[in-house]
């Protein structure tokens, strides 16, 4: 079966004052129908940029796809017209954002905002769309949906607002849902509720989910496959459990071990956390023919700073772009 979404050798350039910089550099990935994958990495690694490119929402005049293809159901989205993209966006592919506070319009009721999607894409009448909005609020488990549908965003808590965002995103039963750090602004107990909701909705509707996050715990809970990104490139890809068990890229293992996790049994001893020294390189350094992680890497050798490592596939569906992947 052909994958639902296929990104081939994608290259996105951003125009900065210093010139053009490749914020996404030769990225390829596949997403099957019903699958749940995760993009992982620090801020500034190009996770959100990839998502925006899939949605056709790159910042106008600044970001541009300069190479590669984004195939959705066989159709190349990089060549699609604006009106065709408008048909797909919110209908076939939809997105929820990190900040539920700022991504809802404060002067419309949540019901009107959910109904807007249905009227635009499915041509429903005002009353029919309103009725659907109530049903959707019920589906995302907001208590008393009939009453809450006329609330404004400020009358809801952060978790409820994120539920409204999910209701809007799922209104047209999209094939792909992109969730960009959907729970970063929320408390852990609310995060657990949202994850639970997303899992259930996925089971019911068969929607594929792309979740963008920096939290390995969230990846382990939510995704089947993960793509670790670093400085606009794919560092590692593979099934979640396998990658956590044995990472094939030093950046991945650094990301896992630099966070103190809650384990099954807490013991008296506490190790020093593994540090990844330094920070993600600036945009100006992207696109060089070397391993961009080399400056922070404990395994750096001569080869790492002279040539960009190719992506090496392993027989267990893992792959890693590191010269030392075999030894890890």
């Amino acid at each position: 079966m052909a994958p639902l979404l296929k990104v081939e050798n994608l290259r996105i350039e951003l125009t900065t004052r210093a010139g053009k910089a490749p914020v996404i550099d030769d990225l390829s990935l596949e997403l099957n129908a019903g699958e749940s994958i995760s993009f992982v990495g620090e801020s500034g690694c190009g996770k959100s940029m990839t998502a925006l490119a899939i949605m056709g929402l790159l910042p106008e005049g600044v970001g541009r796809v300069t190479g590669g293809r984004i195939l959705f159901d066989g159709e190349d989205l990089t060549k699609a017209s604006d009106s065709r993209l408008r048909q797909i966006r919110g209908n076939e592919i939809s997105m929820i954002f990190q900040e539920p506070m700022t991504s809802l319009n404060p002067v419309y009721t949540v019901g009107e905002q959910i109904a807007e999607v249905l009227r635009a894409h499915q041509g429903l009448s005002r009353t029919a769309a309103h009725g659907m909005a109530v049903e959707l609020l019920d589906a995302v488990r907001i208590p008393n949906p009939k009453g809450r549908v006329n609330d404004y965003p400020f009358q809801m808590s952060g978790g409820q607002r994120q539920r409204v965002m999910i209701a809007i995103a799922l209104a047209c039963k999209p094939k792909i849902l992109i969730a960009d750090e959907p729970t970063t602004a929320l408390d852990v107990t609310v995060q657990a509720q949202i994850f639970d909701l997303l899992r259930d909705l996925r089971r019911q509707t068969g929607t594929s989910i792309i979740m963008i996050t920096h939290d390995m715990g969230a990846v382990a809970e939510m995704a089947e496959r993960m793509i670790v990104m670093y400085a606009g490139r794919k560092a590692e890809e593979g099934p979640v459990a396998q990658v956590i068990e044995r990472a094939r890229h030093p950046y991945t293992s650094g990301l896992i071990s630099c966070v103190p996790h809650i384990m099954a049994e807490i013991t008296e001893e506490r190790h020093e956390l593994t540090e990844i020294p330094g920070i993600v390189p600036g945009l100006a350094e992207f696109g060089q023919d070397l391993c961009l992680f080399a400056s922070r890497c404990p395994r750096r050798t001569e080869r790492c700073v002279s040539k960009r490592p190719p992506e090496v596939p392993f027989p267990n569906a893992q792959s890693s772009a590191c010269w030392h992947a075999e030894e890890m």
């Binding site: 382990a220 809650i262 920070i279």
Partner: protein
């Protein structure tokens, strides 16, 4: 306790808010009759959801809240709540704060050496040369290069700015440092650098930390004891091992089970305790236990009386009607022992 450096006794903070109707005054009680102790050289973590009052409690200890504070905060046995003037200055020398947001907590128009030196200028009368020497030492201690002293905050990354904030907090040689979500605004890799730095400094300078965080993974790594807050109350207060391996209050258990984990055995064995809904409206709190509206095991009695924070063996204190003297979680043994 003799080795307690910092102790809060029946601490309450309330803020006046506009009430409906003429001439009426209403109060929002953010911290309600809270008591805890921090031993010298150790770390007490205060955890809880947003709005639980953890930051207000910590800032009240640093005498930095605008609200009305009642109760006692003992620093080395001396109450610091009524202090004014010179005595307050002296207390500020001994208690310093590291703030959450490294972007807004540094003056953008000051050079970072002046930022680090400011507490020395305001709170001490050390000679110029000694101040300069202290600043140099601090830059080295937090891992910044001496030539960076002349730069402005915008020329630093988030992690480096947090190092500047730490250097500033250390400048007066304080005994207590309050870390208010000191790493939550940072990227994971940088967070590890700062956490390691904080632990190293604690050892080198013999610091006592009050560590405010909502991230239980980080808390587990940093603390010696934990106070869990919910809606202005401490619901559980215990040593690190006791709290994480045998959480007694249903809220603590739910909070722990909500943290997504990379440990597959934990994920399989842990019964996820979902607590429904959101915290109650702080102006309209439930009459009995404040957690009653979300508690999975609430019983009729829980609606009537607020449970006191009681000792359940060892220094493990819990505020729950359903935890008996044998210190067993009301959720059942399998949920409490999460392994």
């Amino acid at each position: 306790m003799s080795d307690a450096l910092l102790e809060a006794r029946n601490l309450s903070v309330r803020f006046p808010v506009r009430a409906r109707g003429w001439g009426k005054k209403a109060y929002l009680t953010a911290v309600d009759d809270v008591s805890f102790t921090v031993k010298k050289g150790q770390t007490l973590a205060i955890v809880g959801e947003s709005g639980s009052g953890k930051t207000t409690a910590a800032l009240a200890i640093a005498r930095l809240v605008a609200g009305e504070t009642t109760g006692e905060v003992l620093l080395d046995g001396r109450d610091i709540v009524p202090l004014t003037g010179e005595q307050l200055k002296d207390m500020r020398r001994r208690v310093q704060v590291i703030f959450q947001d490294p972007y807004s907590s540094l003056n953008p128009r000051a050079r970072v050496e002046d930022i680090v030196r400011e507490p020395l200028d305001n709170l001490t009368d050390k000679p110029e040369a000694e101040k300069r020497q202290i600043v140099d030492q601090l830059f080295e201690a937090v891992g910044l290069r001496p030539e960076q002293k002349r730069l402005f905050p915008h020329q630093f990354s988030g992690g480096q700015r947090q190092r500047i904030g730490i250097a500033r907090a250390l400048s007066t040689r304080p005994e207590v440092i309050i870390c208010d979500e000191a790493v939550s605004a940072l990227d994971v890799a940088v967070q590890a650098q700062i956490l390691n730095l904080l632990r190293r400094l604690q050892k080198d300078f013999g610091l006592t930390y009050l560590f405010i965080s909502h991230d239980l993974g980080v808390v587990q790594h940093m603390c010696d004891s934990v106070a869990v807050m919910y809606m202005g109350k401490v619901v559980e207060h215990a040593d690190r091992m006791d709290l994480f391996n045998n959480p007694l209050h249903p809220y603590t258990t739910a909070l722990l089970s909500a943290v997504p984990s990379v440990d597959p055995t934990l994920r399989e064995n842990a019964r996820r305790i979902l607590i429904p809904g959101d915290p109650p409206d702080p102006f309209n709190l439930p009459k009995g236990c404040r957690f009653v509206s979300r508690c999975p095991v609430a019983q009729a009695g829980c609606h009537d009386a607020a449970p006191p924070l009681e000792d359940k063996g060892g220094p493990h204190r819990v505020a729950c009607h359903l935890v008996g003297a044998e210190a067993q979680s009301p959720l059942g043994v399998d949920a409490a022992a999460r392994a």
